[in-house]
């Protein structure tokens, strides 16, 4: 497999605030056409990992390749869905405005937004199932609708690799199903998604492979072989409640097999 077909390759990545490392020696390759979950406890450096990949935080060491080239050269092939809480949802813009922001790169700095662009944004909104909210001000959206708006903004870029920071956090069941459906459609279309995920129950159901992260990569590979109780214990340490959750997840998975 040529390196330009690997959507994301992270080598020897270390990020540190002053002297305390946040993630260190992280290495993994993402297989094309897969849904990949990044799993780990709070403070494990999951968001930092995504941000380091996108050059949003300075790297202490390491190299990131996106489809065989540097982030800068290939960032147009990557869509990003930030955490929903990262923005002020009272901001005076409409839903369609937010989705159109995903097209700013294509539109260019000093050219106007055309009807063609707004139609693309509208189609993305319809894909995530909230086309009827296009004209609303974003503060009128529910949590799930906000998350869908962010997804639409990433979809409209027509990227090949998507990086998503907790798209499932605090959304209603309908939105969760809609997002899972979208992710599977994307996979069918040959796209790849790297998703930070919290709910251990749904991991075996949603993801083809996982990266278990706790400052360093504990294990990574196909969910079937890597998402094991032993690996989860190594990732989450002695946090019992989480371990119980994990055990339950394992039991459910075994039942489904």
């Amino acid at each position: 497999m040529g390196s330009d077909t690997i959507p994301l390759s992270v080598q020897d990545l270390t990020v540190a605030w002053s002297r305390k490392p946040v993630i260190w020696d992280v290495e993994f390759d993402v297989t094309p056409g897969q849904l990949v979950g990044i799993i780990g406890p709070n403070g494990a450096g999951k968001s930092t990992l995504l941000k380091a990949v996108m050059d949003l935080v300075p790297k202490a060491s390491g190299r990131v390749e996106v489809f065989g080239r540097s982030w800068k050269q290939n960032r147009h092939r990557v869509g990003y869905v930030p955490q929903r809480e990262s923005v002020d949802w009272d901001f005076p813009v409409s839903v369609l405005d937010v989705v159109t922001m995903g097209l700013y790169g294509k539109i260019g700095w000093f050219r106007p937004v055309l009807r063609r662009h707004r139609e693309l944004a509208m189609r993305a909104l319809e894909r995530v199932g909230i086309g009827e909210y296009a004209g609303r001000q974003i503060s009128q959206l529910s949590g799930g609708q906000q998350q869908r708006t962010f997804l639409a903004r990433a979809l409209v870029q027509e990227a090949d690799l998507y990086l998503m920071d907790e798209p499932f956090s605090a959304v209603d069941a309908a939105t969760e199903q809609a997002i899972v459906g979208l992710l599977r459609d994307m996979r069918t279309a040959g796209k790849t998604a790297l998703v930070i995920h919290h709910d251990l129950h749904t991991v075996p159901d949603y993801f083809d492979s996982v990266v278990l992260l706790n400052m360093r990569v504990v294990a990574q590979g196909p969910t079937a072989t890597i998402f094991t109780r032993e690996n989860l214990e190594r990732t989450y340490g002695g946090r019992l409640t989480l371990l119980d959750e994990a055990t339950e997840a394992m039991r459910r998975r075994e039942r489904n097999l």
């Binding site: 002053s18 941000k51 996108m54 050059d55 949003l56 800068k72 960032r75 990557v78 990003y80 930030p82 990262s86 923005v87 002020d88 901001f91 005076p92 813009v93 409409s94 405005d97 937010v98 159109t100 922001m101 700013y104 790169g105 700095w109 000093f110 106007p112 937004v113 055309l114 009807r115 707004r118 009827e132 001000q137 503060s139 529910s142 799930g144 609708q145 903004r153 209603d172 069941a173 309908a174 939105t175 199903q177």
Partner: protein
């Protein structure tokens, strides 16, 4: 977006035109007559008054425009620290200008000094903020007070060195428009135009920066550079406003107009225009008032007028003002009461209505029956009955019962149908329903797909036959 752009373009063009016009007429003196001071101000008789008012108006416009973005970027207080940080620069420029062979009291020289030390202040904020364990508010507090203190010290040294020549320097602290000359007004105009033009050119980039800087950075936008550009624009406006409003009160013009504009609209391009309008009105009215009452310092008056406009917006703002919100709540409450009344009468008589479907079907209920249905007071109920009566939906019979008119019956049937569909939807699709139930949607059809409604209606028919769900969740209370 295109028409929005056009709108903004027009506003920009108007602003540019204004500033040229104002500079033009500001520069041609008209003979002053012996009129009352009020009239002279109102008619812009005085050359000086004209200059001052026009300058202050332009300043307000520019500050209102720029302030929108700093407020949304949550950098409003950085503007305050910046304006305080200009003071040592003013003092030093005054002291050092003669060394360089310049006039220490010429405005461009003083403002240049102000810009340099303001820039240093912003850099100091960024440096302190980057230190471990110190947050933005600490950085702002330190820079604001230290620079201002240094400025006061330098001014008092200057006072001792060249006593008597200092007149005017203090005006940078509290602002005094009376000293403004035509060339000063022109300076303000050009800074305003430059600041506005920059924001206009980078409008979309600044919007993205303010809304979601993480996303902007991930798309390759130079976020740090855009922030510097935004701060430069703030600096330009602040420097322009030093003389008229003063560095202590400059922050008011940058924060209050956009905050007030937020009560009028949910759309950024409108917010920007409204904010600019509020800013310019404050400048205009404030400087005019301080022109009439010569003892009132212009900066303070401008800020007070601004605050008055803010209060007005807070109360009467069309998007989220106090009154609009109260009105909206009232309308909603009445709509709910109306629905309760119509549905109440209908459901009380539903059995009889159904039994004689083909005959004329009067549906009436006693006041006490209706009162028991819900938690409303008799007065509330009476008022709602009167309202529905004037709408022609019900009428009071001679025996005191409230009867649905023909139109009322149709409306009640529709409401009941709608309500039950929602209830059924909640029950059958409990997992997804919560996010979609929309009480304010006039009809289920506007929210749910036709196929889903057809299925729900089918279900409703079946259940009516089987009586599995109660006809109304409130039926128990009545029986």
């Amino acid at each position: 977006m295109k028409d929005r752009r056009l709108q903004s373009l027009r506003a920009m063009a108007a602003l540019l035109l204004c500033s040229f016009l104002l500079c033009g007429c500001g520069a041609t003196p008209i003979d002053t007559r012996s009129e009352s001071p009020l009239l002279r101000v109102l008619l812009l008789r005085d050359y000086n008054t004209r200059v001052v008012i026009l300058g202050a108006t332009l300043l307000g416009t520019g500050a209102g425009f720029v302030g929108c973005f700093t407020l949304l970027r949550r950098r409003a207080l950085t503007g305050d620290a910046l304006s305080h940080a200009t003071l040592p620069g003013v003092g030093l420029a005054f002291l050092l200008a003669p060394v360089a062979g310049l006039d220490g009291k010429s405005l461009p020289v003083l403002l240049f000094g102000a810009a340099v030390s303001g820039g240093l202040g912003v850099m100091a904020i960024l440096t302190i903020r980057a230190l471990p364990r110190l947050k933005e508010d600490a950085a702002l507090g330190i820079v604001l007070s230290v620079f201002f203190g240094a400025g006061i010290a330098i001014l008092s040294i200057a006072q001792q060195l060249e006593s008597g020549h200092l007149a005017g320097l203090e005006s940078f602290i509290y602002g005094r428009t009376a000293l403004m000359t035509a060339s000063d007004a022109r300076l303000i105009a050009w800074s305003g135009v430059a600041a506005t033009a920059t924001l206009f050119v980078f409008y979309r980039q600044f919007t993205l920066l303010c809304f979601d800087d993480g996303f902007a950075a991930s798309r390759g936008y130079p976020v740090a550079l855009l922030d510097v550009l935004l701060m430069t624009v703030v600096m330009l406006i602040t420097i322009a406003g030093l003389q008229a409003v003063g560095l202590v009160l400059m922050i008011a013009l940058l924060v209050i107009p956009p905050a007030a504009a937020r009560f009028w609209t949910h759309q950024l391009h409108r917010m920007v225009l409204i904010s600019a309008a509020i800013g310019s009105l404050s400048g205009l009215i404030g400087s005019a008032i301080s022109g009439v009452f010569a003892d009132l310092p212009s900066g303070a008056v401008i800020v007070l007028v601004c605050a008055g406009l803010f209060f007005f917006s807070l109360m009467f703002g069309g998007a989220r003002g106090v009154f609009v919100r109260a009105l909206r709540r009232r309308v909603l409450r009445q709509a709910i009461d109306r629905e309760h009344l119509l549905r109440g009468i209908y459901e009380l008589r539903e059995q009889e209505l159904r039994e004689r479907e083909s005959q004329p079907r009067p549906a009436a209920a006693r006041l006490t029956e209706l009162h028991e249905l819900r938690t409303w007071t008799v007065r509330q109920l009476q008022r709602q009955i009167s309202r529905c009566e004037s709408e022609g939906l019900v009428w009071r019979r001679a025996d005191g019962e409230i009867e649905l008119t023909e139109r009322g019956l149709i409306e009640a049937e529709r409401l009941v149908h709608n309500h039950r569909l929602w209830e059924l939807y909640l029950m059958t699709h409990a997992d997804v329903a919560a996010s979609r139930v929309d009480r304010q949607a006039d009809a289920v059809e506007h929210v749910l797909e036709p196929a889903l409604i057809a299925r729900l209606e089918q279900l409703m028919e079946q259940e009516r036959g089987r009586r599995i769900i109660p006809q109304s969740p409130h039926a128990k209370e009545v029986s």
